[in-house]
Chain length 385, copies 4
């Protein structure tokens, strides 16, 4: 039997973490053939060049699409998406996949959806049905309406995709592949790993013997003029707590220039001797770092998702994860220095939580591969009501 | 008070008919300022250059976006959409509208939605919530998920948009503006008008004293290799009936080259003395022609919509309008010569039907303008469930 | 030794004829590896889809770039070029050629030049140094200034490229590969071939026993509103002569829609019983048809180039080939019906001419391959004065 | 008489300095109407957002074109150019200029040339005929071959453009408009101005009483992997000299990320207490700073051009200005720390030079406006030999 060609388009570092175990399972499946396309910030040094990590992990990259426009404005998001459609159309025409996979809700993921669906290639969407607010949510549900197959992470996501008018038999609850990595990290908690030794980063060596915090705060695209101010509030809270901290650079989005400027500004005007900055870690290493941390602070979805599985306490700041389903490990606060400090202290006194399987049981990658190998591939659909 | 700038993007001749009375009402509204952008096949001679008609109607065109790629393939649909996003992003950045309007479900309408929503400009979608099947429907519902304001035509469309998770107070049932033109034509049935004198077209003069048929058959994009074959079946049916017929060239889409070739092929190999071909008529004139016709044949949405209001009998062929809500004036048939002939004969013996207000009462344009002048303009939303 | 990867970009049917024997020689050369990219009208059915011919000739196509915008306007030429740069950049990044070849002077050839030179890939230009007037000439000389290696057809072209400031050792006079095909056709004049049987075309069967004419008239882009009028003048002249004629559809360019319309208009209003229309022939077949014809009429460069080698009489109309070097087989006339008729009659009474080697001795393909295998590959240069 | 619409496209901060007085003269000319388009890095904060300066100077910006792709690679240069062609084509179609001006030799300037010339709009090129080596020179001469009118800075540039086959009557020696600003600065040497007070910049306050150095070193695009290393050599030389220095961030180009990284790296690992970093100054202020400086170091063309007029000593490093005509104020050295130090010390002991008019007498802007108001506007040309 001819193997189904599954073309996965990865457009950012965080998306790789959310698909990696599925890539491995697709690559290893006897009925499937993996085609891998990298685009967007996944190719850019400034955002941690996921492409090197992916190639180091043994994946062959079939095509690279450079499509991100410069500029700290929302117009670059729109234009980058247009450019991606143009080039991904050619990529799909050349690779002739049997099914294309688009991941989650980043602005440029709709480019994958349009390039595939307009060329009548069946489209599978990973992580549909979740609720986040903002432009991300518009994109996510638009992806759902363009997609033919839905590989969702949670039960409530499955219900929501069905409510959106998709046929129940095209919606598969697989869990999120990022939980697979979380499970492996969880199962190997004794693994030794020194992040500064391996990745360098920026800032002085810090003493981790009494535990540490992790911060990852993305700009919120619909409020991007405020992103600098918001990042400074968080920095101030962390500085006042005076606890060793690993701080991660945000990924590409309108506003990210503002965030970087904020960090640079702080570093030039303050003594940040207890903060160490990283641009990027391999997904496993990031989770290892989280697993051993005392608390994750910011607005990363990792706080809502992986940390639920890992049982790591989270202080979630601001509106970015507003609507996302969460377990009890998360305390949500506004962009307010005192609220942030208070919540961190509360989490520190609570310590780690029980593992929660809300976003998957840790075997999503294999389930996704099996679904893609056996499901009906069709590009015609109509709403169910 | 500052007038709201309403930017309408028209990408095809049929879309102009569906928005014209709203344009007039927006232009005439004391709280609104109209910005008009033409793109896609609306600018192309080959598809009837709607731009000339629109300028003749007294509208000022603020920007023109040439974005359609050549080629009888679905890849050109995808790339044309990408190109439209890139250029419309610049257009919106330059015109700085308070609200952008995207119309219905053509492939390139999602470009308007993306360019506006990614730049945080409130997006209003006309004709959401309808059901058609095919890529059109994917695009239509994706537009709904990207849009903030929904100006729908029918009650069932309103229900469907709400089911898609949109807040009820953002969904406005205005009816379809094309019904406004239908109403005017209906109210002035005595208007004298000779289409061949006014538009020329291709083919010999035909005798209309005993009535005539109108044919408009678009290629179906997800089956575009079959479009030539399908058009030849319809042509054969019409030829065998030997009744005077006006035949309209289809609009741009993957497959339209095939249709044109089919028509040319037929004209070279057959005696089509009773068929007169047109590329395009002004919307009013097209409806005048329909109003006086004995039957509309093909797969045009005008058969489902305007003809309901006008009471004109319709033979709807194939899957293109499969799921669209319809009144009793429509008989649906497969791409089968004998079925088509039989249905036409049945409609001829039935004669015209009662006017039906399913798609609007003929005052949609004014309702749309009033809604845009008074509704809350917001670009942040989240699903209701 | 590692074989040099030679990437050839073909953007139109006529360009294939001008490079075919070089492709064969590159493919067969032990030190070279051929990479073939098709773009522009070479992929479009409407312009004779050269891609099918090329694949039938046994070449593997590495990438296809759909980039031509619709529309009978010069804006589509500019935008199609921009789109080609974007996509060819990705193609070169993916194929990693050691040298890229751009051919002649069509508007989109500068896209190949920019995509290669901006990525520091050595660029070879075929057919630099010729003089034609119009935008073509601007493009041709701009290509020369972007190119590192110059493979020219004639001695005067060689002199001109050197005068343009290129180093003499980078300019190679190889002759034009289209002469190689002309030589093969010339050497096999007895080959039997029935064009209507093989290609069909449009129009009635015509009697060729007393010889025939061939017409190929392209629109002139800087005067594209006149293209319809000019084509009608030529048609009128041919009709009045009442001699069997093969008429070829022009290639894509601003104005080509006008030409097609003109032909259609004539066919509907005149008795063209002695004219047979073709859209495209394989290069060899086109030359076979020319070789046996009594005269070529129009503004094709084949009249100036291949017909010199073949000794076929030519009536060259208008400004398109104004400045191009020519042999004695050509009579040049204005767009004037009587001048055209008079010149054709003069050529008919003269009959065929001696073969002239102005544009090459028929072994250009091999010379080009040998040059590419041995020349220095460098992307840095400076003007010589 | 109808005023000629002159559309100037500015794509980078340095280009503004080279055209500003011409803009003023065009704006003030009774026979001309200025249309201003900003694109490329002229719109980006990261490169000093020239757009704000331009608007502060009282110019109305007709259109903005965001076209720069992210990434420290040459592919982004190529794609950004393609994107600019697409959008500038629409801009010219909308603004309908009588003549378009493209400036100098940056990679994206050819986009202006193609968008204008392909649409048959007469194209004027500023600063043709100069020699620089590298991709810049390829672009510059390709611009010349696409342009119809040539507004050159020096006599040798005039000779070179004519040798390139341009008709003598289309080549106008006006001098470079940047000399006009240099002349004004020179004539007002007593003007008081504190750059740190006005612009801030990065780094501590420095003591300027004994004079200071200025450094501006751009990455060299065809060697962009070396750009970090080269910048570190220069930094090392400057640090060892231990003289107060103003250091300017380079403009956008493949490699500029590397340069910024280098600067950041140095700042984190060294005591740069005598270096103050700026991203951008208004053109006049930059010249004021130069005028009072003891020496300019780096590879900026300002060293070759404005500093000739101002008599400022220059140490020119590396290949970037290799071929450019220069006066006696320039000492050229390799990327070698000791050579650089030695040359700076020699310049410091020499002091300022006599003013030299090689690049213009300081009245270029008015000459350019007068030429555009009176020259023949034509888009058809042919090579002169």
């Amino acid at each position: 039997m001819k193997r189904r060609k599954v073309c996965v388009v990865i457009t950012a570092r965080p998306s790789y973490a959310r698909i990696k175990t599925a890539l491995l399972a697709i690559k290893g499946h006897s009925s499937l053939k993996l085609q891998l396309v990298l685009a967007g910030s996944a190719l850019l040094d400034r955002y941690g060049n996921a492409s090197k990590i992916i190639e180091n992990d043994g994946f062959k990259v079939n095509r690279k699409v450079f499509n991100i426009l410069e500029g700290d404005t929302s117009i670059s998001m729109a234009k980058s998406t247009g450019l991606a459609i143009i080039e991904l159309s050619s990529v799909f025409e050349s690779l002739k996949p049997d099914v294309v996979i688009t991941i989650a809700d980043r602005f440029e993921t709709i480019a994958t959806s349009i390039a595939a669906s307009y060329q009548n290639i069946p489209l599978a969407h990973i992580q549909g049905g979740e609720v986040t607010g903002n432009i991300d949510e518009k994109v996510r549900h638009a992806n759902t309406k363009l997609a033919d197959i839905h590989l969702v992470a949670t039960e409530s996501a499955r219900q929501r995709v069905i409510k959106l008018g998709e046929r129940e038999e095209t919606v598969f609850k697989t869990g999120c592949p990022s939980m697979d990595i979380a499970r492996e990290v969880f199962d190997n908690s004794n693994f030794k790993f020194d992040p500064i030794l391996k990745y360098g980063g920026v800032g002085r060596e810090i003493d981790l013997t009494d535990g540490y915090l992790v911060v990852l705060q993305h700009p919120v695209t619909t409020e991007f003029e405020k992103s600098k101010e918001q990042i400074l509030i968080t920095l101030q809270a962390i500085m006042e707590l005076d606890i060793p901290t690993f701080w991660f650079w945000p990924n590409v989005d309108a506003g990210s220039d503002g965030t970087s400027k904020g960090i640079r500004y702080m570093r030039e005007n303050n003594d940040l001797s207890k903060i160490h900055f990283f641009k990027n870690l391999e997904p496993e290493d990031f989770l290892r770092l989280l697993k051993k941390s005392n608390c994750l602070i910011g607005n990363s979805s990792a706080g809502i998702r992986e940390c639920a599985f890992l049982g790591v306490p989270v202080v979630n700041i601001g509106s970015r994860q507003n609507e996302r389903e969460r377990a009890i490990n998360v305390i949500s606060v506004a962009h307010d220095k005192n609220e942030i400090k208070k919540a961190i202290l509360k989490q520190l006194s609570n310590g780690h939580y029980e593992s929660n399987l809300l976003y998957g049981d840790g075997y999503a990658g294999q389930k996704i591969a099996n679904t893609l190998a056996t499901c009906e591939l069709n590009h015609n659909k109509t709403i169910t009501y």
